[in-house]
Symmetry: none
Subunit: 237 residues, 2 copies
């Protein structure tokens, strides 16, 4: 995964800067560059919450050039895209594709977000190596600044991160559990000709659900008890 | 793609509700339910921007049950997850996987977000068929409410056209089926103190598996017969 630097060019609302800082902390990204930003006061810190460290360490500069110094790739963003192929400066790559494309690098990438109202100026866009885009509604494509940044960072985080799952039951346990289901069908005198189909049906349900060891054991216990009680009842009944 | 209903339970800051409404407009989602929300005033509308229609049409209710009425699947969200497999009520599915799993349905899904500070209460989480999660930093996992909602809606928007799935059981059928599972626990004298946990566990297994109407009916029949036979046995035994 590349190192990600977030660059906000000319943000006008300190609340948005704070919200971006919070989202950065949420996705383990801590390098924030601000180009000619509004003043950052209480509202920025209030919105940053535990991302206040990110705000404290933010680097303020005067130009976009300074802000992307040291980055091997500069990706510009904008809500405004084009569908013709003439204005190649606004021909976008979808953010997810972009992240996949760069996920093998470890160098530093700058993701540049423009002003809340007018975005990046043309000369700023011209300095970007790629123009990335979050797919949105055609009716109302313009995302809030911190929402756009959150989505981009999420995609980076997502591509590098695999959550450990709770341990699934292994094959033997699973077969054992399915046999308890078969026993239960047997106990209730489930119609013979439907048993094998229903058994497969249950296997498929479990296959989609991928139960944990704990879940398997619990369900197995219930089926097992039910079968036992019914069969005992039959013996004595 | 399923129809998505966004449910905010007990939101405390009107700005967040407005920001969620804007993001909904960004992703062509327009059904917003608010459970006992804070008052919505200028700040909500200021943040909603062109999503103000969504705010105007938002339905305010008193309980989560009312808010998920008519949805075939209820997905709860929370920043707090668990890594053990015992607390299955907080065993999460990653949002991207969840969206892939349900993308073949056209029925209505409720995505439920909790309060900004404490999230969903345990009894609210227990009513969810699945528990979905946005992967975030372990150091600071708690997303802003509107950021979380934005990420979830983005994933739905991203996921394309997928083959239609077999008709899932509706909510009423599902509740009915879960009650047959409870009956079975009752019939086998399953330990009282574990019943409610095990009931939620089974709901979650079914939530992940999303059974069809046929599967539900079949399982319901087996549980029902087993309970009946056991109870009859007790009466005569």
């Amino acid at each position: 995964m590349p190192e990600v630097r977030i660059v906000l060019v000319g943000p006008k609302f300190e609340g948005n800067v704070g919200a971006v800082a919070r989202a950065m902390a949420n996705f383990d990204i801590d390098e924030l560059y601000l180009v000619e930003p509004c003043e950052l006061g209480d509202d920025a810190y209030r919105r940053a919450k535990h991302g206040s460290d990110v705000l404290d360490k933010a680097v303020t500069v005067h130009t976009m050039d300074e802000a992307v110094e040291g980055c091997f790739l500069v990706a510009g963003t904008s809500g405004i895209i084009t569908h013709g192929d003439r204005n190649y400066t606004r021909l976008p790559i979808k953010i997810r594709e972009f992240v996949q494309q760069v996920s093998g690098y470890e160098e530093r990438i700058a993701i540049v977000f423009g002003r809340e109202d007018v975005g990046l100026y043309q000369d700023e866009l011209n300095k970007c190596d790629v123009f990335i885009h979050v797919p949105t509604s055609e009716k109302y494509p313009t995302l809030n600044l911190s929402h756009a940044a959150t989505l981009v960072m999420y995609e980076f985080f997502q591509s590098g991160n695999i959550t450990r799952r709770a341990e699934p039951a292994d094959r033997k346990e699973k077969e054992y559990m399915l046999s308890f289901f078969d026993d239960l069908m047997d106990a209730i005198d489930y119609p013979e000709h439907r048993r094998s189909d229903t058994s497969v049906m249950f296997r498929r349900m479990m296959g989609r659900s991928i139960p944990t060891k704990y879940e398997y054991n619990t369900i197995m216990g219930i089926f097992g008890d039910a079968s036992k009680i019914i069969k005992k009842g039959k013996k004595w009944g």
